[in-house]
């Protein structure tokens, strides 16, 4: 499947910005399931875009400017080739073998970034009883699929009840949130059960009626010994397939926030986004 993706952010500032550095994590990555064929990054102030690889190995794009401006537009256009193969996350090891690996000391050390709870994923002690029980005689893949549905049913999808700072614990208390909150809650529960889980940001095929496809989306990757990292989308209660175009992953949202900036300015500012994802198959229809 071939996708064309357009991401655009538009910032308006009350007073001119004198000096700024922006950071973007919006460019799809290359991995075994997808390849970026072409892309362009354009910004309204004409500064060159530079990039570095972050600790997870993803390219982060940056722009620095000292030209005063009150409006700033940033646009990504990319074409991504997604592999057709749909590998569903089934365990290949026996539950016993899986448990042996999950509880090994070296495993904990190798996957500590995805096993240690963080600001977004710590649950208050009274909320930990809501963590879905893990029957360890069952395959891990079964638990993860159950957890996907469990988290999906635990929160209702609502746009204005949470913000980018909301933790899994807070979302659980109000039983609602957006994709970011579903993902943090899934990650929190998986980690409390000793399963490595990470935050993934990316784009969703807009041709299907998925929740969260209007803007950038978030889902989970959990680690199944013997299989590897597999994607789960608790917002839609779906398994990740060719409809999902990955940008980057990290321990939580803080590692994947699409746009960040340090600016010298005063007063208010507003940001609006636009995301367009279309698949070539649809264009031909």
């Amino acid at each position: 499947m071939r996708y064309t993706i357009e991401y655009q952010s538009y910032n308006v500032y009350q007073h001119p910005v004198k000096e700024a550095i922006f950071e973007f994590r919006v460019l799809p990555c290359n991995d075994e399931t997808q390849a970026v064929t072409t892309y362009s990054l354009i910004n309204s102030i004409g500064e060159p875009v530079f990039s570095f690889k972050n600790l997870f190995g993803f390219e982060v794009n940056r722009i620095r400017t000292v030209a005063g401006f009150k409006e700033f537009t940033f646009r990504l256009n990319a074409v991504v080739q997604k592999n057709e193969s749909e590998l569903f996350p089934y365990s290949v090891l026996s539950p016993e073998e899986e448990q042996t690996e999950l509880t090994a000391k070296a495993f904990y050390i190798d996957y500590h970034l995805y096993l240690l709870q963080s600001y977004y994923t710590i649950l208050a002690p009274e909320n930990r009883e809501h963590v879905l029980e893990f029957d360890r005689s069952q395959p891990l893949s079964t638990y993860l699929q159950l957890l996907n549905g469990y988290v999906h049913s635990m929160l209702s999808y609502q746009k204005d009840t949470t913000d980018v700072k909301t933790t899994a614990n807070e979302a659980l208390n109000i039983r609602s949130g957006v994709c970011q909150d579903f993902v943090h809650l899934f990650i929190a529960m998986a980690r409390y059960k000793g399963i490595p889980a990470r935050y993934v940001s990316g784009y969703l095929n807009q041709g299907k009626s998925f929740i969260g496809s209007a803007l950038m989306h978030a889902w989970v990757e959990a680690f199944i010994p013997g299989v590897g990292w597999k994607g789960f989308d608790p917002t839609n209660n779906l398994l990740v397939d060719t409809n999902y175009i990955k940008v980057s992953h990290g321990a939580d949202y803080a590692d994947c926030s699409p746009i960040k900036g340090v600016l010298k300015t005063k007063g208010d500012n507003t940001t609006s986004y636009r995301v367009k994802v279309s698949s070539q198959q649809q264009q031909q229809q």
Binding site: I21, E23, F50, L55, R64, K105, L113, A251, V262
Partner: protein, 491 residues
Amino acid sequence: MRQDVASINRSVFNAYVSEPGLLDEVFNENNLVKDHYRKVFTQFSRYSTDDLNKINEYAKLSFFNQGVTFAVYSENLKGIERIFPFDFFPRIIPNKEWEKLEKGLLQRTLAINLFLEDIYHDKKILKDGVVPAELIFSSNFYNREMININPAGGVYAHVSGTDLIKHSDGEYYVLEDNIRCPSGVSYVLSNREAMKRTLSNLFLSHQVLPVQDYPEQLLAIIQSVAPDGIDNPNCVVLSPGMYNSAYYEHSFLAQSMGIPLVEGRDLFVDRNFVYMKTIYGPERVDVIYRRVDDDFIDPLSFRADSVLGVPGIMGAYREGNVSLLNAPGTGAADDKAVYTYIPAIIKYYLGEDPILNNVHTYHCESDGDFRYVLEHMQNLVIKPVDESGGYGVFIGSKASKEELAQYKRIITANRRKYIAQPIMSLSVHPTYIEENGCFEHRHIDLRTYCLMGKKKQFVLKGGLTRVALTKGSLIVNSSQGGGSKDTWVLE
């Protein structure tokens, strides 16, 4: 009464009483002056209180003239500017004693650097179970942004400040390692300056190893870790600014090394390189001796509210375009809980026995140790693992019943945060007490400075002898009412 040199006036030592069980640096167990202090003692014994007061005033004047001050943090956030109390009775370390210390410090610093490289790469020492992985990952100073970064020359801790004490058994013990932004070295240099100005004849009558080459050595270390391919690196000292307690030192070091002193707002990152704003336009910066804490150096990577750092600098660092001294994340090895594993760390990487002693340490995190700590609180010093500067330290023998009970609650609530050690008896040293016009003994320790660069290493000869000026006190930190002495290593 001292029975040593009968023919001279010993009035300024009259009140000097030895206390059994304390190791005196100057007098032996028979109250006789140790050989290496003989000349100093003889000269001081000839002075009257008036003479000593004069010397003391001269010494103070030297600090005013050099402008050596520091700021103390208190409830109100702006520091109070003070002059660091200086005691003119020098501490003398015989050469043989020093040689062992120097070897031990180099061994320790080398092992710590190998440890840091390991925990940010393969983590072999954790997998081999020599150091508990949980201990490292739960440290506030374990910095995941450092994972798989390769600092120039494999060096992380370029500047280390190791604190040593001499116990009543006559042995030196390491109390703690300071490998984030250790400070105080400027006092070593200004103490020496004050000593030369006030007691020049006494100083010249000894063969004292120099300390004034520290800035030169530091600059060589800084230059040695420039990014690959940079022959003539542009180096700067990055300070948090004038409200920082060590601002004097930052400006002193920059000035004596002849490199710019900058603050975060003077630097910026563009296309993954760091630049300094100058009147001639941007100038590329290759190496930064930064005295800004990890949390504050890059608002894009760490604390977003920091205005002390340089947005984007971690990206430039990750790409290998700038070197930072010390590397971020070194604090994972100077955590007081990790301290207890340093002997094992030395053995693991170097296959050698540690040259320097560690103080036995109890981890409140472990159940057995925790029980011992609760039962023996009055005989222990209890410290938070992640604080420096003597903050939050509890000394069992000095605590009231209420304080004991209160502290018990504090450590029970957060066991990972606390370690306990037997109360070490810091050695004592004659110290001039202005109010009494005579010498009295006060507890001292020794802050040493060890530098490590790419194929270069250096230990400052002596270091900073810190004095607990309050009678009987064991806390020598400048922020807690400590003073210091010039420290002589004899040739």
